[in-house]
Symmetry: C2
Amino acid sequence: MDQRLVQEINRLHAEICGGLSDPKRITILYALAERSKNVMELAEVLALPQPTISRHLKILRERGMVVPERRGANIIYALGDKRIIRALDLLRQVLNDNLAHNARLVELTAK
Amino acid sequence: MDQRLVQEINRLHAEICGGLSDPKRITILYALAERSKNVMELAEVLALPQPTISRHLKILRERGMVVPERRGANIIYALGDKRIIRALDLLRQVLNDNLAHNARLVELTAK
DNA sequence: TTGATATATTCGGATTGTCGAATATTCCAA
DNA sequence: TTGGAATATTCGACAATCCGAATATATCAA
């Protein structure tokens, strides 16, 4: 395998992951997994100003993680790929296990 | 659910994802998935200076994504959880599909 | 203990990411 | 075609991240 290409792929791979590395974007993705929403709906759900939502949507859009569809004056955003949620769920499980493990350590140390 | 807690969880969730958002760290994780390695081995595989590897390992270690085990003078690093690789694989598939999709668009536009 | 090897940390500087606020753009309806 | 609603972009400031270089720490072997 051409090492240049591998590096380029890894860069893009990391870029995708970077799309997930913000709590607000994670919330947006889970919200869209439930059902597609327009920008204002997302702004309400996240209780954030609309420009903030638009900025994060741009980041997700550029990575193909969400897909916009114009519907009259609104733009409905949908999850780009369900595997993104599967990946997020896996990582959340890892997080849960780590937290549980740490909690056990705290318990043991306290005795 | 307490909204404060949800936000805290999402913050940690994003932090885990942030651990994946660098090409070198992705390479490290895949290298460790193959088999555990010490720092110098990783430095060789990635062709990077040792301090750079150590810095990235620290980030992964803090998130529980890799686990160190001292073996004499060396420290063997192992993948913390195989689900991390499963998540990475899912996201790489999404990337592949996006690239393939874009390639199709280029083809169609060229005609 | 001393030297050598393996690993980790720190520092300054450059780059990137995020935010709020303000402003543009796009589209519909009257 | 003009006003309003929905969405997107830009700006400056600030925080976070990354790197190379230098340095510190830890372990082993002699």
